[in-house]
Amino acid sequence: MESVTGTIIIPGQAEGMLLASAEPLSFWGGYDQHTGEIIDRRHPLSGEIGTDRILALPFTRGSSTTTAILLESVRRGVAPAGIITDRADVFLALASVVADEMYESAFPMVAVGRSVFDRLKSGDHARIREGGVIEFEISA
């Protein structure tokens, strides 16, 4: 396991299998709030399930409704366990803040910068720890 410290966007801890892409995603039209499936058919992660994963995306593109979709996903229990981004992303962070306000179920978010982000690979195991520490396997 490798350990790096990123910037805490939303504090907390989470653990799961990484689902990572260097391509940004709009959750509206990109994440199914009923099933957790990535449904943007032009996105490299199309068909993957985000539920309980550590989702790694550089940032969000597209719709303002990304936040609403992620909030619905939290309420239905199909949201990712935690999110790692390249930079601070307002759309994703807000979903966690409102999930905390409404349902007391925030998910953690850490921003790690491009060089660390580029080493995150789908299928590897990752942990988000207190203090913005991320531990992840390094695949060959």
Partner: protein
């Protein structure tokens, strides 16, 4: 943090529990914006209206029940149903009931019930330089780029907090520095005849979102003055394939009289040449199918304007769409009313088209399952339909959409798009 007495009073609950909740959410988001202070906004556009499920309804009702009132004029984006027309479609009753409850909650907060994703084509459009809190990606792009009003890229659920408090983080596109171009897109050998064609603009929007998804593109090389509807199509395309919240078009948009001014006197950090090859690839990328099968034509994302109705009416006059093809136009209540009064709807409805207001098929579960093959002239419908509706989609110009609906199969005049 540099909070004002007003900000602190809101946080302390002195303006009531709804303003306190809204300010608490904004305050938690302040560091995510990377700044330590708030600033005033003069108006807002609320995309939180989009019904995505029980959570979005519960959020709206929580604020409304706590007595929320907007402090600045706030227009409303589309909802989850055509309030008075959903029964004609496949909308589940529970969705209609919940989405309507969500509509009532935002109306109770004192918002203006515009129910449209093209508020810039209503009398509530902001003016140059105004500070606004806007949600809805195409609206954000249009306010910033075409009007020169200033809004950050706000997500649903935060836009209403800004409207309730009148405050936003003093960040990004609200500030001069944040509006500087970041990448120059130089149109090369893109003929004026293509630039006059409506079909060029969704393709250009889709392209800029692809090549500069997180940037502020500066587009150079326009030989014509695009219409507002054409610029609207660029905004919607760039905010679907990318996160374009502001673009400058040299000689066209208000903050770009020259390339130099668009970059605030600096050299472009990056230059991308855009020729016909790049545009053709973007055109192809907007479609997911290549066959002739057609179930439905859908127009109006962003919502159709009066001018777009004026363009459609003569194309369909005294004609009939094929039986097996649905034809849908989405617009606001106001635009439908005006279009009706000036006689534009008559030929369109006689053609067999239907009009949906308040919403669109992407935000309302209204389409029957048999609809699998769409055709549209909108980059936004083209981008999102495969994921949200599970359909294939073919992009074509308005006249292609009409001819295809008449023939009952997809036909396109490839013209300049042919390699």
């Amino acid at each position: 943090m540099a909070l004002t007495d007003y900000d602190k009073a809101l946080l302390a609950g002195e303006e009531g529990p709804a303003a306190q909740m809204a300010m608490r959410i904004l305050n938690r988001m302040l560091p995510v914006f990377g700044v330590d202070r708030f600033m005033d906004v003069e108006a807002a556009h609320i995309d939180s209206t989009v019904y995505m499920g029980v959570a979005t309804m519960e959020y709206a009702e929580r604020l409304a029940d706590l007595g929320a009132k907007v402090r600045v004029p706030a227009t409303l984006n589309v909802s989850g149903v055509d309030e008075h027309g959903w029964q004609e479609w496949e909308v589940p009753e529970e969705v209609a009931a919940n989405a309507t409850r969500q509509m009532r909650a935002y109306e109770a907060m004192g918002c203006i019930p515009t129910w449209t994703c093209a508020p810039y084509q209503t009398e509530h459009a902001p003016s140059f330089g105004q500070q606004i809190a806007a949600g809805e990606s195409n609206v954000i792009g249009y306010y910033n780029s075409v009007i020169g009003a200033r809004t950050e890229r706000y997500p649903d659920l935060l836009d209403i907090c800004a409207a309730i408090t009148g405050r936003v983080p003093a960040a990004g596109l609200h500030l001069d520095e944040g509006r500087k171009g970041t990448v120059l897109l130089r149109l090369r050998d893109v003929p004026a005849s293509l630039q006059e064609d409506d079909a060029f603009y969704p393709v250009l929007g889709h392209l800029i979102g692809r090549v500069a998804p997180d940037g502020i593109p500066v587009i150079e090389g326009m030989q014509v003055q695009p219409t507002n509807d054409q610029l609207k199509a660029v905004c919607a395309g760039g905010a679907s394939s990318g996160a374009i919240a502001l673009f400058h078009m040299v000689g066209v948009t208000p903050e770009a009289p020259t390339t130099k001014e668009a970059f605030q006197g600096e050299e472009p950090p990056r230059i991308i040449e855009v020729g016909m090859d790049e545009l053709r690839r973007s055109y192809q990328d907007l479609s997911t199918a290549h066959g002739e099968k057609l179930d439905m034509v859908v127009l109006g994302s962003p919502h159709f304007s009066i001018d777009e109705f004026k363009a459609l009416a003569p194309l369909v006059k005294d004609r009939k769409k094929a039986d097996g093809v649905d034809f849908l136009v989405t617009c606001s209540r106001t635009v439908r009313m005006i279009a009706g009064h000036v006689g534009l709807l008559e030929p369109i409805e006689a053609f067999g088209a239907k009009i949906t207001v308040d919403t669109c098929p992407l935000t309302s579960p209204m389409l029957p399952d048999r609809i699998k093959n769409l055709m549209t002239n909108s980059a936004k419908y083209a981008y999102y339909s495969p994921g949200l509706l599970g359909t294939d989609v073919v992009y074509g110009r308005l006249s292609d959409c009409v001819e295809s609906a008449v023939e009952g199969r997809i036909i396109r005049e490839e013209g300049p798009w042919k390699a």
